[in-house]
């Protein structure tokens, strides 16, 4: 990967026009990107249509003392990914676990991007008092250790899907806001914004027509990275036993499989949900990074 960079860079640095004329193809998204997107789509579909899929009931115990002795049972024909210590099918539990993790992840990011994004965009362009106040608020949110704030809120309020999503949403407002503000600052300095002002464009028009399209693209690339971080955060909460009470999430599954006795005898109980979480988060990160490179967003180092 680094070898290609040097040729374009050479052409660009040495003869800028030659690089364009040499028709250096725009960096393609590559097979890795489509593989990642494929995995994300698969997981999302599995999560949404889980009840209609031919899956075993995630909470039913398939005890079969005669056949296989005491649970947990290893991966076998009827339990593709084995069973946990209460003989519940790991495959269906992981898929049902995906429902909560994904919903929390996507809605937290959606909340963070709408609130944080807008505030960041506006304060990056308007500057002045509004910018100072919002930046201070974001700094306060940032200087709070994220996980502790999350634990604080979840332990004080009843932990439903909605409260967890909202908490992570609030937490993502600060980092997203700062990045949106940085992007907005960068583009606000560009000459085409000055040109728009000389043509008599109102600030609202400039923000919506000039800044938003340019800021939206890099932010969308970051949305994928943001979702990955939100899912991991939910996992962290679940690992500390602070996630959603009813229903299971990947974090909870990992927690149950993670004590040393379980790991010794039945490592798959922990490693199945870990694999699911890891692959999803990696797919999101990879897709987000490729998008960031594709749109050539160097100013917004995550």
């Amino acid at each position: 990967m680094s070898q290609d960079v040097s040729t374009e860079a050479v052409l660009e640095a040495v003869e800028p026009e030659a690089a364009q004329e040499a028709g250096v193809a725009k960096k393609k998204l590559g097979w890795g990107f489509w593989l990642a997107v494929g995995w994300i789509v698969l997981i999302v579909l599995l999560a949404i249509f889980a009840p209609w899929l031919p899956l075993k009931d995630p909470n039913e115990n398939f005890i079969d003392i005669q056949g296989k002795g005491r649970p947990p049972y290893g991966p076998s024909a009827d339990h593709w990914l084995g069973s946990d210590q209460d003989a519940r099918d790991m495959l269906s539990r992981t898929i049902y676990g995906a429902r909560v993790s994904l919903v929390v992840g996507f809605s937290a990011v959606a909340f963070g991007f709408i609130v944080g994004g807008t505030v960041g965009l506006v304060s990056g362009f308007v500057r002045g008092i509004f910018d100072k106040i919002t930046s201070f608020i974001m700094l306060v949110l940032l200087s709070f250790p994220a996980l502790i704030l999350a634990i604080l809120i979840t332990s004080l309020m009843e932990r439903s899907l909605w409260t967890i999503a909202l908490t992570l949403g609030i937490l993502s407002v600060a980092p997203v806001g700062r990045l949106a503000r940085a992007a907005s600052l960068v583009f606000a300095e560009r000459e085409f914004v000055l040109a728009a002002r000389t043509m008599g464009a109102k600030p609202s028009h400039i923000m919506l027509r000039e800044l938003l399209p340019n800021v939206l693209i890099p932010m969308s690339a970051l949305a994928l990275l943001g979702t990955a971080i939100a899912i991991v955060a939910e996992g962290g909460l679940a690992f500390l036993g602070l996630s959603v009470e009813k229903g299971s999430t990947w974090g909870k599954l990992i927690l149950t499989g993670a004590n040393s006795r379980q790991l010794e005898e039945a490592p798959w109980i922990a490693f199945v949900p870990i694999a699911a979480l890891f692959l999803t988060v990696m797919a999101l990160n990879f897709a987000g990074d490729r998008l960031r490179d594709y749109f050539d967003v160097r100013e917004l180092a995550l």
Partner: protein
């Protein structure tokens, strides 16, 4: 130099723009201030091209931006067709904007990369005479509130609501903000795109990064012409271009001037380009005016020592002034505390004691349209 005084200002009827004692200062920190422009006065008649020449750091670009009030000058008056732009509030100023336009140095950076070239050119019309954005804002706000309210019932509804809100906002953004440009202006946009030498069909499809530097500069010119401006301020429009493309743009500017009757203020550090383009010429140094007047007179007999040094150093292959005086072997003083009296005195081969105490006033040279601010002007302009 350090030309205060307004003797050179004309009171002819066709004066379009008159700048008097314009001062622009930027605070560096609590104590010190950058004196970018300190008391510049000049005027531009209709149909005329005024060249503003000077090296980097002389305040020519700051002057240009101060004329269009981005940012507003610290003091002084900018009188455009009878109204002093300094006294207008933002709304009134915006209404005047279409009459004073600006072209920038970096052709590609001054165009929005996300939009097709034709949309950029017609942008002027959408911006200046439509107040469509109000309902657009209302609809977008409504969609978001609706989505969040629905979310309180249950998370799935929240998700659906957010998506609906986003989609709705996007459609509104695309739909309402893209009013069909009135019948007549469609032809006008195409006519101007062809006039500047571009293909309107091509322009509707392609984005700025698919055009060369020269072509992008044509787009900038087209974008200003669409608004039928009185004055166009060109801030180093051809400095970033190759010689062959530079000639194309300069010819195109001349054609546009005749065809649309616009007045130009042409800013550049390249004296041969300014020589070709301007009717009158102003030479600036460290925020002050050295010399102003008819360009033929000044190029034939430069009256100010600084103008002579500039001409002598010009690497133009057929430069008659080449080597007339040797190069300046010193550095430009800092604009934070410029030299007292005449600001060029620290580097001027003809400097005397008086130059440090007293600021020279602008005075006429001979009987023609040539004015200089110097205690010891080059009488014969050797």
């Amino acid at each position: 130099m350090a030309g205060t005084g307004k003797a050179h200002l004309r009171d002819a009827s066709d004066i379009l723009l008159r700048v008097e004692d314009m001062v622009v200062e930027f605070p560096v920190d609590r104590r010190s201030v950058v004196h970018a422009v300190s008391g510049i006065s000049f005027d531009v008649a209709k149909g005329e091209t005024l060249g503003l020449v000077g090296e980097s750091g002389c305040g020519k670009s700051t002057t240009a931006k101060a004329i269009i009030q981005i940012p507003r000058p610290t003091s002084g008056t900018v009188n455009f067709q009878g109204t002093d732009l300094n006294t207008l509030d933002d709304a009134e100023l915006r209404a005047m904007r279409s009459q004073i336009q600006m072209i920038f140095q970096d052709p590609i950076a001054s165009l929005n990369p996300r939009r097709t070239v034709r949309r950029i050119v017609s942008e002027g019309l959408v911006v200046s005479n439509t107040t469509v954005s109000k309902p657009g804002w209302a609809l977008l706000g409504l969609a978001v509130i609706l989505a969040v309210a629905a979310g309180f019932t249950s998370l799935w509804v929240l998700l659906a609501g957010l998506l609906a809100g986003l989609a709705g906002g996007f459609i509104i953004l695309k739909g309402v903000f893209r009013p069909s440009i009135g019948g007549c202006s469609d032809e006008r946009v195409d006519e101007i795109i062809t006039a500047v030498g571009l293909d309107p069909v091509e322009a509707a499809k392609r984005r700025p990064h698919e055009y060369s530097g020269g072509q992008c500069q044509r787009v900038s010119v087209a974008r200003t012409l669409v608004l039928d401006p009185e004055i166009v301020i060109c801030d180093e429009p051809v400095s970033a271009l190759d010689v062959s493309v530079q000639a194309q743009i300069l010819n195109m500017l001349e054609d546009m001037k005749e065809r649309y009757g616009i007045t130009l203020v042409f800013i550049s550090h390249d004296l041969s380009v300014v020589r070709n383009v301007s009717d009158r010429l102003a030479v600036m140094y460290l925020g002050k005016m050295c010399e102003i007047g008819d360009s033929d007179l000044i190029y034939a007999q430069p009256a100010h020592p600084y103008t002579q040094v500039l001409l002598a150093a010009l690497p133009d292959p057929t430069n008659p002034h080449a080597g007339a005086v040797d190069a300046l072997d010193s550095e430009l003083p800092s604009p934070i505390n410029p030299p007292s009296g005449c600001r060029f005195r620290t580097r001027c081969p003809r400097a005397e004691a008086i130059c440090a105490e007293q600021e020279p006033q602008i005075a006429q040279v001979g009987t023609g349209d040539q004015w200089v601010a110097c205690h010891f002007p080059l009488a014969d302009g050797s």
